[in-house]
Every structure is written in structure tokens, then in C-alpha cells.
């Protein structure tokens, strides 16, 4: 795997609320022998809040151009960054007029279409490969897992790399490290409510509650996911959700790279497992 290398796009939460994801992504890729070169001076992808698609395309033209100069493909661990980078990539490749318009704003926005954009799950399963990962597994993860994909791995069709309703790529990663995937049906790809967290929190909480209770009722020991906003809703806000509805959940929420990292024999501290808000010790203890 030594020939694989990515331009790493960490995304804004990578130094704060999703520092555990950032740490585990770096540790896992290092263990797999795949180099990540952090993109120099990357900018915010626009998240869900920049609603004008043309501003999103312009913001990401700059990011794509930074990777293009290095001759590298981009890998990002955040599903929203992935969606914005990838849709910008596809639209800019097709639309010369738009490329010119964006180029006329500033020369740093000149992008010629030479970059591929990968979400971390896509990179792990489809670039590195299940076989390669399987050959490096050192420990068995004796845990029942609810795999939570959220919105942007399988939707919208323009950028999707998994099924819109019944995604499976994380299931395959969980299975190869010995975990048991619990039946999590449509909730796998149902929205966590994150985009409304700050503006209509009662709806956001109801959405997140459904995912959390669904996982618990399915008999899961933990939820595994790959997006900082989903992590914020389901892990960091879990206590607030319990309080709002007078319920008890107490379900650990791990990034897929944290669980995978344990199976690859990486130490829990290096994977940021002491930073998840709901305690993860019970899960760590069952990886042997």
C-alpha cells in the first residue's frame, strides 16, 4: 500500500469537537502504511450553512486547486466536507463557464479538474481494501455495533458512494474486525437532526433520539459513525437528549476509525478514545 497517498482535508471540527476522529484517522492510516499530507492552508467547505451552491463551488475550487498543485487526491473524514468537496469537483469538471467565472475572482481558485475526492470510509474500503485491512488486524472486536451512516455517504446521487437507504461499507469494516452488526434497518441512513441543532433544537433532538433509541433497542453496545456533526448530536449531546425526554440511553458512540484502530492494535489514547463524551471503556475492554 506504500504507493497510496492522500491530501488530507481535516475539516473545521478536527481540532475541537472531532479531535478524536482526527487522531484516529491519522493513526489508522499510519498503521495501514498510507501517507496523509495535510493540505496547506485549506479553507472551510461551507458546511450546510452556505446555501448558495455557487459560493460553495468557489470555496472548494480553492481547496481542490491546493490538492491539484500537489498532484494528490483528497481524503476527508467529514461527511459534509466530503459532500461539498465532491459536488464542487463534479460540477466544476463539467461546467467550463462556471470554472472561468470562479477563476476570474482570484487565480488561487483555478482548478482544472484533476483531483478525486474520497470520504474516509470510501478510501478504506475501496482504495485500501478489505483484504489489506484484514491482513493487519491484530485483535477481535467482541462488540455489537449499530452502524450509523447518516445522510451523505449514500445521498444525493451526484456524490454518493454507498446505497441511499441501505448502505453497507461500514458493515463490511465492522465484520472484518470481528464485530457483530445489529439490524439497524432504515435508521442507518436517517438524518441525525444535526443541521437543525442550533435553530430548531426540539426537532433535532427528536431526530437524534430516534437513532439512539433505535440502536439501543436493536441490542447494540455502541454506535459507530463517520461524521463530526453526527458525533456531536449522538455523543456530545446525548446527555442533553436524555434530559430533555427524561430517558436513559448511555450508549457509547465511536468513530469507525476508532473501532478499526483498536482492532489494528493501536493504543486507545492514540485513537482519542478518552475524548468521546459517553465513556468508551466498556468497548475498549472488549477488544482482545
Amino acid at each position: 500500500m506504500s504507493n497510496l497517498k492522500y491530501a488530507y482535508f481535516p475539516g473545521c471540527p478536527s481540532e475541537s469537537t472531532a479531535i478524536d476522529q482526527d487522531m484516529s484517522v491519522k493513526a489508522v492510516f499510519e498503521r495501514l502504511g498510507v501517507e496523509l499530507e495535510e493540505m496547506e492552508d485549506w479553507n472551510c467547505c461551507g458546511a450546510s450553512e452556505v446555501e448558495d451552491p455557487e459560493i460553495v463551488y468557489a470555496l472548494n475550487a480553492r481547496n481542490l486547486a491546493i490538492a491539484e498543485k500537489k498532484g494528490l487526491n483528497i481524503m476527508t473524514p467529514c461527511s459534509i466536507c466530503y459532500y461539498n468537496l465532491q459536488r464542487s469537483n463534479k460540477v466544476l469538471r463539467e461546467n467550463e463557464e462556471l470554472r472561468k467565472k470562479i477563476h476570474s475572482i482570484d487565480s488561487s481558485l483555478t482548478y482544472n479538474g484533476g483531483v478525486e475526492v474520497k470520504h474516509v470510509v470510501d478510501a478504506l474500503v475501496n482504495d485500501i481494501g478489505i483484504e489489506e485491512i484484514s491482513s493487519k488486524v491484530q485483535k477481535k472486536v467482541n462488540v455489537k455495533v449499530a452502524p450509523y451512516y447518516g445522510c451523505y455517504m449514500g445521498r444525493p446521487p451526484l456524490t454518493a458512494f454507498d446505497d441511499p437507504d441501505a448502505p453497507i461499507l461500514m458493515d463490511r469494516l465492522i465484520e472484518v474486525i470481528g464485530g457483530e452488526v445489529v439490524p439497524f434497518d432504515y435508521r442507518k441512513a436517517k438524518c441525525c437532526g444535526g443541521p437543525l441543532m442550533m435553530t430548531v433544537p426540539d426537532i433535532a433532538f427528536k431526530m437524534a433520539r430516534d437513532i439512539l433509541e433505535g440502536a439501543k433497542n436493536a441490542g447494540a453496545d455502541c454506535i459507530v459513525l463517520a461524521c463530526p456533526l453526527c458525533g456531536m448530536m449522538l455523543d456530545a449531546k446525548q446527555e442533553d437528549i436524555e434530559e430533555a425526554f427524561g430517558i436513559k440511553i448511555g450508549l457509547p458512540v465511536l468513530y469507525i476509525t476508532q473501532l478499526l484502530g483498536l482492532a489494528l492494535g493501536i493504543s486507545p489514547d492514540k485513537l482519542g478514545l478518552n475524548k468521546n463524551v459517553v465513556d468508551t471503556k466498556a468497548i475498549v475492554g472488549r477488544v482482545v
Binding site: C12, P13, E15, S16, T17, I19, D20, D41, W42, N43, C44, G46, A47, S48, E49, V50, E51, D52, P53, E54, I55, A58, L59, R62, I105, D106, S108, L109, C151, Y152, G154, R155, P156, P157, A160, P164, D165, K190, C191, G193, P195, L196, M198, T199, V200, I203, K206, M207, D210, A236, K237, E239, D240, N274, K275, N276, V277
Partner: protein
């Protein structure tokens, strides 16, 4: 009841011109979007198909002042399932931007706080090139609550426990008090200026 004399036949062209709204007229009203929308479990009357039909009919005022415009999760379920590739999630975004411009010119009052949040978010990117959580929260709460002091009070009420939790886990600390900045901030300003200005 539809008041035919109040219909605006140009409304659909206005939407078609807005980035994201290009596919409006492909809709054949099958309702697949509404049937799959997760919001309908929480708000039974929520109905994207209906908003599209009203837009096609030219019910401009009703559509632009519909509070349901501001609760879409942008989860893309509707877009993934639409047999006509209407790209509803983007379409609703296009209508929201028309509504925001209408408010800027004083012709509409939007009750949702979402536009203030989105604006505060965009200001962070414009200024720093990265999301600055503290700056976002401070600006948003100030606008939402009507003054800086009231905003700070509401914010500490909403976020006290959460902030402590994040602090304990080392996810928020002294470092999060200050913004991360890209070096080339001039280009951020230019992007928003150029892309935003043309549509006015």
C-alpha cells in the same frame, strides 16, 4: 383556497434562475418526496410536494412566508428518490434564498432564526476562512436575543453544561477561544462579495 388574481406567473422563472432551483418544472407531483421525508413523522403537515406545486402555480407569498421552508434538514432523501431529478433539497434552498432577499428589501418578515444562524456562520468563513465556533455562537445569540448581553445570558444558559462536558474531554479549551485562520483571507472576502453581489 387559491386566489387566482394574486398568483405570480413569474415566480417559477424566478426559482428556475436561482442556483439549485433549475429542475423545478420537471416535477410531476407524484409525492415520493413527501412520503420519504423524515420530518413528516414530527410535523405531519410538512409537505415538499405541496410547496413545489404552490411554486409552480405562482403562489409566491404563501410559499415565501411558509415557516416549513426553514425546517428542512437537507438530508437529501427526497432528492435521492425523486423520479424526475427535481433535486428538492437544493430547490428548497433556492426558495429560502429568494425569501431572504425579500426580507432584506423589507417586503417579508421571516419568523425563523435560521437565516441569522446561516449569516453568522458565513461571516466566520468570510473573516477567517474557517469556522470559528465562539464567534459564530456570539454573533448568532446576539442577533437572536436582540442584544449582546441578552445573547451572552441565553448562550450560557443553553451551553453551560455542554461547554463543561467538552472542556473536560479536552474538546474545547483556551485554544477554542481564538479563531483558526487561513493565510489568504482576502480571497474569502472576494468570493462572498462577487458571488453574492450579482444576484441582487
Amino acid at each position: 383556497m387559491i386566489k387566482t388574481w394574486e398568483l405570480d406567473p413569474n415566480f417559477k422563472y424566478e426559482i428556475l434562475k436561482e442556483p439549485g432551483g433549475e429542475h423545478l418544472t420537471a416535477c410531476f407531483q407524484c409525492s415520493t418526496c413527501t412520503l420519504g421525508c423524515p420530518l413528516t413523522e414530527i410535523i405531519p403537515t410538512y409537505n415538499p410536494r405541496r410547496m413545489i406545486q404552490m411554486s409552480l402555480l405562482g403562489m409566491r407569498n404563501e410559499v415565501l412566508s411558509n415557516p416549513d421552508l426553514w425546517v428542512c434538514l437537507i438530508c437529501q432523501t427526497c432528492t435521492a428518490r425523486c423520479p424526475q431529478d427535481v433535486q428538492i433539497a437544493d430547490l428548497l434552498g433556492a426558495i429560502r434564498r429568494i425569501a431572504e432577499r425579500e426580507e432584506e428589501t423589507g417586503k417579508l418578515k421571516i419568523s425563523s432564526v435560521r437565516p441569522s444562524f446561516d449569516k453568522a456562520f458565513m461571516h466566520q468563513i468570510q473573516k477567517y476562512g474557517r469556522l470559528y465556533d465562539m464567534g459564530l455562537a456570539m454573533e448568532y445569540y446576539k442577533v437572536k436575543e436582540g442584544s449582546f448581553i441578552k445573547g451572552m445570558m441565553a448562550m450560557s444558559k443553553d451551553y453551560k453544561k455542554f461547554g463543561m462536558r467538552m472542556f473536560k474531554k479536552g474538546k474545547m479549551g483556551v485554544k477554542s477561544m481564538f479563531p483558526e485562520k487561513v493565510k489568504d483571507r482576502e480571497v474569502m472576502r472576494k468570493i462572498f462579495e462577487r458571488m453574492g453581489a450579482e444576484k441582487k
